[in-house]
Amino acid sequence: MALTIAWLLTGAVLLAAAGLKAADRTGTIVALAAYGLPGWLAAPAFAALVAAEAALSAGLAAGIAGAAYAAALVLAGFLAAQVVALAQGNAGAPCGCFGAGGRLTRAAAARTGLLASVCAVLPLLGEGPRVPLVLSAAVAGAVVVLAAGRRNAPRGALEIDGEGPPLNVPSPLAAWFGDARGATEHGTAAGLGDVWLALFTSPGCALCRRVAPAAQALDGVAVRRFDEVADSHAWAAARVPGAPFAVALGRDGVALAKGTVNDARQLASIVDAARARRVPASSRRAFLGRAGGLAASAAGAGMVGAVIRPGDAEAHHFCGHIYTTDGCPHPTGLPRIDRSGLPLRARDGRSVDDLGRLIDALGRPVDEDGRLLCDLDGRPLPAAPRTPVCQLTGARHGIAVTTDGAWYRCCQGRVRKLVDCCSPNRIRINGDRALRGYCYERRKVFCVMYFQSTIPC
């Protein structure tokens, strides 16, 4: 029995290694560089490693002695590579052993050696489990495929200059904190927190439900939630692009950090960045806070540097969107479109014209209740053009654009179609290098839009 568990456990370790590598392809490929692998070889080596480890784990689970010996040989090779890398002074570099998380250390090498020894000894101790090879191979394959399809959320919030209130100036949001002393969440008054956190949420936003409890767990932070409907004035004042969004203020009401957040870690990154930026500019933490992103993280500043620039981030710009590309310019904010690419108001899906006015079926501007908008003489205001959002973007930026591809995701309980506005441009609308996204041929994403379906998910 104990021997069977040992075989299965060893197989599980190898499968975990394969799965974690598959789940973080980029990180693993970067880690392989620590072993001196040239860039052109890193991607195929990554695939070969994942496949080999998955296959060996299946063999071990099936109790095949040859698989155990092969695993021992492979692991001995890993051990040799780690020892050479350590001898070359690469200690502390990404190990690539279990994804990209671990570091290359003597302990990691010892672990590899131990695992290799176990694999070599197992067949000598006795027979392994007799799990059908087809079954163990199917499980290993499924784990790798599912892991490869997984996306990790970025560590930091997505901070974009044009979204939310301007930083380092007094924010009108401070007034809401002033009014709400004693009525804030987190069981504390606004005056007691060293950071005031404005969390913007909306009804039916699943991500908001995940983020809101995390806000209450933040130490020394006075939290106030602003609902999209009930607090629409605050939303407008802070120029919030969509929920969930957070703005951190100092006690003097100055906006220190902001960004789109999807989870507790990203929310904490905003608070950490705010605290770092609040410290006098001569301090090291403040410097790191300004430096932002990778540089700060590399310097060991932890979450201080986690509010990352758009080019480094992979956060959701709006629910369902997983890249940093900004939304296409839209008359009412979030780039919601109908099936023809024409603008809709994000909040309720009502049609709007190029000026952002609600319109009726004939394209005439109307008010919230559907009544025609009239001038002072009582005459209906003239209709404005209504142009596909992508097309209008191309015209404004003087570039050729095409609505190419799309992908559907589940967002806020409804299936949402994410649509790319593509162009041959090498630069995205937010100034970063363009990505291929869902575009075809040589076109790349310029900006993004979405179409909301009624399908529940």
């Binding site: 599912l146 099936r339 992908w407 559907y408 589940c410 299936v415 379906s453 009624t454 399908i455 529940p456």
Partner: protein, 219 residues
């Protein structure tokens, strides 16, 4: 009678699955104006997608039936439990309740960018055909899984799986080649914008499940 009811329920459950993030994404991916870029590639990708879906369905439901056979299922208690589960699932389907438990996973989008489209389509087909690796859009999938185990008949499980795979493939291969046309676009838009279509399909699932329950009860 029982076999026919189960096959119809499986086919209907598979078709309902087209109203999922992955199912709809397949229309975009395999369309001639989409990643396939050409009608010939699109048709080839539809063929590999269908093969993949059939394979996936056969693996899942055939495998579950094998598990049932290994557990010695097929007795009146197991069949009775399957009938009760089918009725419960039918009631939930008829009311259009939100699916629970839901599997909040999608097929990897990157495959269509890094692999030849027909190869990616085959992989997508397998994952969608497997039924439980991505969003489930019908309680019938869960009920059929239980029934496959309860009956413990590998041949019948295989047939259920093939019918389910065919159902998953059918909307995609029928619509994707025409997705770029006005009519195809209108159909895809109707799928997204008219909840009554999905609700109607789920009611078809419900009727099929009730028929299955009756057949199980009289088997």
């Amino acid at each position: 009678m029982l076999t026919a009811c189960l096959l119809i329920a499986a086919l209907a459950a598979g078709v309902t699955g087209a109203w999922s993030p992955c199912g709809l994404s397949m229309l975009e991916t395999l369309a001639p104006h989409g990643h396939a870029r050409r009608l010939r590639t699109s048709l080839g990708a539809c063929a590999t997608f269908a093969l993949g879906a059939l394979t996936g369905g056969a693996v899942t439901f055939g495998g579950l039936a094998l598990v049932g056979a290994a557990l010695g299922a097929g007795g009146p208690e197991a069949v009775g439990a399957a009938a009760v589960a089918a009725v419960a699932a039918a009631a939930a389907e008829a009311r259009g309740l939100r699916i629970a438990p839901q599997i909040r996973r999608q097929v990897p989008e990157a495959w269509r960018r890094v692999l030849p489209v027909p190869v990616a389509a085959a992989g997508y087909g397998v994952l969608l055909g497997l039924g439980f690796t991505t969003f489930v859009l019908s309680f019938a999938v869960w009920a059929l899984a239980g029934t496959a185990i309860a009956l413990g008949d590998p041949a019948l499980g295989l047939a259920i799986g093939l019918a389910f795979g065919a159902g998953r493939a059918l909307p995609v291969i029928c619509l994707a080649p025409f997705a770029g046309t006005d009519r195809g676009g209108a159909v895809a838009a109707a799928m997204c914008e008219r909840p009554a279509i999905l609700l109607g399909l789920r009611r078809v699932d419900a009727v099929a499940l009730v028929a299955c329950a009756l057949a199980l009860g009289t088997a």
